[in-house]
């Protein structure tokens, strides 16, 4: 085909975060020709932002820990919607993956006798997170990158993948373009590993890297793969809201744990206004008592700022929606006020919250020992994604594998902190291994020139329309606003149905998108190409969230506030049917007795 470059691989990995690099290393190691495509430069993936650590039951700090405890913790966190096979494999294999990373040069923090140190984290029964200070993701990426660079894999940096090429029902490669020069590329492949991460950019406020636009979920969906549990999106009640470039970056719960209070624009501490009956006798009713609690007084009750995450987020949402928010659409989180009780409060804050102090100082120019922070709920992680086989990570499309955040199953309805980095390595390795095996057993599928031609024409259309077409950024902004407002942390049927209508209208506008300029490193063009992916995942999230009429894990429904045992039996499957999107319930396969027994024992 004229003006289209072609490369040929056995295994093609799309995405170069922790999962993609681990998959590529595994495939290349097994001797198959391996190519990696990434959207940004190598080593810049969202994984570098991961701070907390990697969960692995190595029992270095508490010898009662083992894979069974980790398995049951993960299942409990996921409210038992998890793919239990993945939860089992993950718990069993994470320790080997952590140690292997050290054999490749990573250096986790150490115990005094030199073993890998592990720390506590919410939901994990024992100290379990191997970490490198608060920059574990960076160490992981750099280690995998330096290990992988010399393994003979080809890396195609700064490429956008537009479509998975299909030969009948199985994959034959991928089609896309190089951002640097706008040239179109066909990557032929016998097997593909999707490792593109999450969907944060579908929301206005997100902690995710700005490359997180749901590409993998959408590409797989269009190739005919099942998506699963797309309604489960993890939000965090406090993210930064200002300045715009850092909007959504996490503000640790530790700020509230040290006495931080939430106030609206009138200076009113609104959390006292709404304390659920269930928690009334555990929650303080005065400022003075709440302060004693955070100072460690066991006779005091906790301040309302430390109510459940969902409740805190709901209260923040209500203040903002009622017009009582801060100037940039959040509320105020004030830790400086404790000077009322502590003489040297400024030193105390810097000592107790060093990373938050620096985060606000450096990114927002705010001194949290003197001024309040502006915060609001932020989109952090999607548990749902491509449905895969627990052992091989193959999707429902032969030859298409998925690992990491883009895949569904391990985390069920909610993810435990620390289970993400281990997920990347455990299932990145498995996906690479099984993709290589698939490639060895199957020949190269034929590339359908008609499909390539159609995608090429589609990609060029916005450039041909030029600046007179719909502005892709405007479409993206409207989607982000509406998803944040209507399918965010507090959900109700009427609003989500409105969101589905909005997505429908935006899809039509996206078909008319136009951009000025050439194909050479044109951000407007990239944004126009991302729209289809953002709209697809947004629609899937909204449709699944409407259908699941209960509150469970990360999903809170204002109109169905409790957990429904009936819903514990199903995952939700999203697939393309004709031109439209269908969502249906799929019974969770029965768990083997051995695993059931573990859960019973750990209760």
């Amino acid at each position: 085909m004229p003006d289209v470059k072609t490369y040929s691989y056995d295994v093609l990995v799309i995405g170069a975060g922790g999962a993609g690099l681990r998959a590529a290393i595994e495939a290349a190691n097994s001797g198959v020709r391996t190519g990696v495509i990434c959207k940004s430069l190598l080593g810049k993936a969202h994984t570098v932002m991961a701070e907390g650590g990697m969960a692995a039951a190595m029992a270095n700090v508490d010898d009662r820990d083992n894979w069974r405890v980790h398995f049951s913790d993960t299942m409990r966190g996921g409210q038992y919607l998890n793919n239990w096979r993945m939860a089992e494999l993950h718990a069993r294999e994470a320790p080997d993956r952590a140690r292997e990373l050290e054999a490749w040069g990573a250096l986790f923090d150490r115990t005094s006798d030199g073993r890998i140190l592990q720390r506590n984290f919410g939901g994990h029964r024992y100290p379990r997170l191997a970490h490198v200070g608060d920059r574990t993701g960076l160490e992981m990426i750099r280690t995998l990158q330096d290990h992988g660079i010399h393994q003979g894999m080809d890396v195609h940096m700064e490429c956008t993948v537009l479509s998975i090429l299909m030969d009948g029902g199985r994959v034959a490669g991928a089609f896309g373009y190089e951002r640097n020069n706008g040239e179109f590329v066909i990557w032929k492949a016998k097997a593909i590993v999707m490792a593109t991460g999450g969907v944060g950019r579908a929301f206005k406020i997100t902690s995710n890297s700005w490359e997180y636009s749901g590409d993998g979920q959408s590409l797989a969906y269009r190739a005919g793969a099942d998506l699963m549990d797309m309604e489960f999106v993890q939000f965090h009640p406090t993210g930064m809201v200002w300045p715009p470039s850092v909007r959504g970056i996490l503000v640790t719960e530790g700020v509230r744990g040290e006495g931080g209070i939430l106030k609206n624009k009138d200076g009113h501490r609104f959390m006292f206004d709404d304390i659920p009956d269930l928690y009334k006798n555990q929650t303080s009713d005065s400022e003075e008592e709440g302060w004693r609690y955070v100072q460690g007084d066991k006779s005091a009750r906790r301040p309302p700022e430390l109510l459940t995450r969902d409740h805190v987020a709901r209260c923040i949402n209500r203040e903002v929606k009622a017009g009582r928010g801060s100037p940039h659409g959040g509320v105020f989180l004030d830790i400086a006020w404790i000077k009322k009780y502590i003489p040297k409060a400024e030193d105390h804050i810097r000592k107790k919250l060093p990373s938050m102090y620096h985060q606000f100082k450096e990114l927002a120019g705010i001194d949290i020992t003197r001024e309040p922070m502006e915060v609001g709920p932020t989109t952090h992680y999607i548990m749902g994604g491509i449905r895969v086989d627990g052992d091989s990570q193959m999707s429902t499309v032969p030859g298409l594998f998925a690992a990491g955040e883009v895949a569904a199953g391990l985390h069920g309805a909610n993810r435990l902190g620390g289970n993400s980095l281990s997920d990347l390595l455990v299932f990145g390795k498995r996906a690479g291994e099984y993709a290589a095996e698939f490639a060895r057993k199957n020949g190269q599928g034929a590339v359908d020139n008609g499909q390539v031609e159609a995608e090429r024409a589609r990609a060029l259309a916005p450039l041909e329309r030029g600046a007179s077409g719909e502005n892709p950024y405007a479409i993206q902004y409207e989607l982000q606003e509406k998803m944040q407002e209507l399918v965010g942390i507090v959900r109700v049927e009427s609003e989500m149905k409105e969101a589905i209508e909005v997505v429908g209208r935006l899809k039509e506008r996206a078909e008319r998108a136009g951009v000025a300029g050439s194909r050479i490193y044109n951000g407007g063009w990239h944004a126009a190409m991302d729209l289809r992916n953002l709209l697809t995942v947004s629609e899937a999230i909204a449709r699944c969230a409407v259908l699941r009429q209960e509150s469970r894990g990360a999903q809170f429904r204002e109109d169905f506030q409790s957990k429904d045992p009936e819903w514990a039996k199903y995952n939700l499957i999203t697939r393309q049917d004709g031109g439209g999107m269908t969502v249906e319930k799929r019974p969770i396969p029965p768990m083997p007795d051995e695993l059931k027994q573990i859960i019973e024992e750990m209760k």
């Binding site: 940004s40 430069l41 190598l42 080593g43 810049k44 993936a45 969202h46 570098v48 932002m49 952590a98 140690r99 054999a103 040069g105 250096l107 923090d109 150490r110 005094s112 006798d113 030199g114 073993r115 890998i116 200070g133 920059r135 960076l138 160490e139 750099r142 280690t143 330096d146 290990h147 660079i149 010399h150 640097n180 890297s209 700005w210 490359e211 300045p243 715009p244 470039s245 850092v246 970056i249 100037p327 985060q359 450096e362 990114l363 927002a364 120019g365 705010i366 001024e371 600046a467 502005n471 950024y473 951009v515 000025a516 300029g517 050439s518 050479i520 490193y521 044109n522 951000g523 407007g524």
Partner: protein, 235 residues
């Protein structure tokens, strides 16, 4: 919430010349915010890179008023005047506007043999490396490199020599050589010891250390290797 919005003139190097834009920035906005405002409201064809927004990925490095730095970590209000010049990083080929090819940087990184070569792979994870040991302390201060290329662009030697490894690659090599779990490797030392491309080209002007957004003392890393190589009689 002190302060008011202010109008800034941002002069962006685009191709042969500078193009001037006027943007209104609220207090605490960053150079990256300013670039987004230009791209989203004035000229959508302006090309620049960004990914994480918080100084962790090292994608948005540019030259601001002549100094290399991260756009996401630089605030116009702290530059002292209501105008700023933004240009692509030096010593790297320009692809378009502020986007440069990082190939020369990564090629040098690779030349420094960053791959870990353990003495005993199985034992690496159990090697006792207390945080206060020599390597524990060294690693803590030097392993935060985000491969942004700022040191590479700041380095005066790179102006005259395309062969020089540059500070980031040398720092990576040091972390490997100093690691007690590493088996070393004569090839890496030979590269560092090269007359034209190795550590001896460094003139110790501290530009890399001064500009590094992660505060890594790169000049010290280079000096340590010079001392080490000298002690071995330059191999």
């Amino acid at each position: 919430m002190a302060g008011e919005s202010q109008t800034y003139e941002i002069r962006v190097q685009r191709g042969g010349g500078a193009v001037s834009y006027s943007v209104v920035l609220a207090p605490r906005m960053t150079v990256l915010d300013a670039l987004f405002i230009v791209q989203r409201t004035i000229d959508s064809t302006l090309a620049f890179r960004c990914a994480c927004r918080v100084g962790m990925c090292g994608t948005c490095a540019v030259r601001i008023n002549g100094r290399p730095g991260l756009a996401c970590r630089t605030r116009p209000s702290e530059l002292g005047r209501p105008a700023m010049d933004v240009a692509p990083l030096a010593h790297l080929p320009v692809i378009r506007d502020l986007v440069v090819s990082m190939e020369p940087f990564f090629a040098q990184w690779k030349r420094a043999r960053p791959r870990f070569r353990p003495k005993q792979p199985e034992a690496a994870a159990t090697a006792a490396i207390p945080p206060d040991s020599e390597f524990g302390l060294l690693a803590a201060g030097k392993r935060d490199c985000i491969t942004c290329g700022v040191c590479f662009a700041a380095c005066g030697v790179r102006t005259t020599s395309g062969e020089y490894l540059g500070p980031a690659a040398v720092n990576r090599a040091l972390l490997r050589i100093a690691d007690p779990r590493e088996s070393g490797g004569p090839e890496r030392l030979a590269v560092l010891n090269e007359e034209r491309g190795g550590v001896w080209r460094c003139h110790t002007t501290f530009d890399c250390t001064e500009m590094c957004p992660k505060g890594i003392d790169l000049t010290d890393s280079i000096a340590r290797l010079k001392r080490g190589l000298a002690a071995r009689g330059r191999l």
